[in-house]
Subunit: 212 residues, 2 copies
DNA sequence: TTTTGTATTAACCAAACGGTTAATGTGTAT
DNA sequence: ATACACATTAACCGTTTGGTTAATACAAAA
């Protein structure tokens, strides 16, 4: 019998070498960070010769950059979409918490990664989102300021409210290992806990700022 | 006979070599993380020969362990004190938010450090707080459960409320570089912003859970 | 003074690291 | 069949890394 496992046509599609590298590198950078990641480990995880990493991406820094500038752009683009949705503030907060939490779940390594690398190598990752972040901020600030001046919510410092909202969404994802330890979660329990938060966090926020 | 081996004769108080190493290592580990820190950089920052680090602490891992097991113990001990204070829940939350924020400000590197290292080297740091964290959790859970059953606050999942409270306190400290970038803070503006949160976060939480 | 235990240093080492190279395989158009 | 461009590999290279060592400085005890 011929072994046809290397036939890269249909059911075993040949993920291109470049894609294999990107996937392996993403996982290793996520687990170990930029400083802790090893080119050999990435090569092993991709099942490739280490020289291939340099053939496709020249240096470790450029590989790192290639992965995370793309990841960050995609992430912040979707964040911008969530902020720009056309809804009254309270419904927008409900919509935001639910969909931002889902976005974070699908990119669960990004929050801890950004927190970590912004401390260790801020110059290397700032530029990946510095442009996109301001439009998100100004839209959100404007929405809240308007809602306050229209008397739709209690008077609050819009910056404080923004930080509260993103803190409640991001922290449980970024601190997953800590929460899992403290609350003795298994994977399913943790995911259920986060799933519940999609509705509960919005209620928690709205309860606090709505006018009785 | 008194041990006077550390007699400091000159006007320049001789911080013992061990203390010099610990201080320099703490700063470097904080800036670079475990994987990114270099023994030579620690030695340079302490103004000592690199061999001294090994003479006092044998290995990089043991130096890392010596610093952060002590730091974490101190930090979680103070956290336990905050939880064990004898106050009704709502006042306890006010007291907690104010003093926990202050504790975090004084140990501002710890949150991002724990988030980062729990992702990269969980086994290496779990044991530093795994014992202390459960008593804190159970006391807090009990307080909230009692307050709910007494009808002092709205019925909430105590675990969700705990996560909300610590998220609102920890995130702005852990994500300082990101907040500083997004809200265009200088150091003073950032610290003022956090200072304001000592009162505002407690109000935000209590507004949400109090019975109208 | 001599001895003795500790602190400190420069020089050194093997392993691990990121990165390069030269040779070889492979598919394709001529 | 040949030629050419791209893909892949093992072996290699110079540097950096954590860690060791052997020699020495130094202060207290004998």
């Amino acid at each position: 019998m011929d072994n046809i496992k290397d036939l890269n046509t249909d059911e075993n599609p040949d993920k291109s070498t470049e894609k294999l590298i990107l996937k392996a590198a993403k996982d290793v950078f996520h687990r170990k960070g930029l400083a802790g990641a090893r080119m050999q480990e990435i090569a092993d995880e991709a099942g490739l010769n280490k020289a291939m990493l340099h053939y496709y991406f020249r240096t470790k820094d450029k590989l790192f950059e290639a992965i995370f500038s793309e990841e960050c752009c995609g992430f912040f683009d979707k964040l911008a979409d969530l902020i720009n949705v056309d809804l009254p503030l309270l419904e927008k907060i409900e919509h935001f918490v639910e969909n931002y939490t889902e976005l974070l779940l699908k990119n669960s390594y990004i929050p801890a990664f950004i927190i970590s690398e912004m401390h260790h190598n801020p110059e290397k990752i700032k530029h990946m989102f510095i442009d996109r972040i301001f439009s998100v901020k100004y839209k959100f600030l404007g929405d809240i300021t308007t809602a306050v001046s229209l008397g739709l919510i209690k008077p609050v410092d819009p910056r404080q409210l923004i930080v509260n909202i993103i803190a409640l969404c991001i922290f449980p994802i970024a601190a997953r290992p800590m929460l899992t330890l403290m609350l003795e979660f298994n994977d399913k329990e943790y995911l259920d806990f986060i799933e519940t938060r999609k509705k509960e966090v919005a209620k928690f926020i709205i309860n606090s700022i709505k006018i009785n």
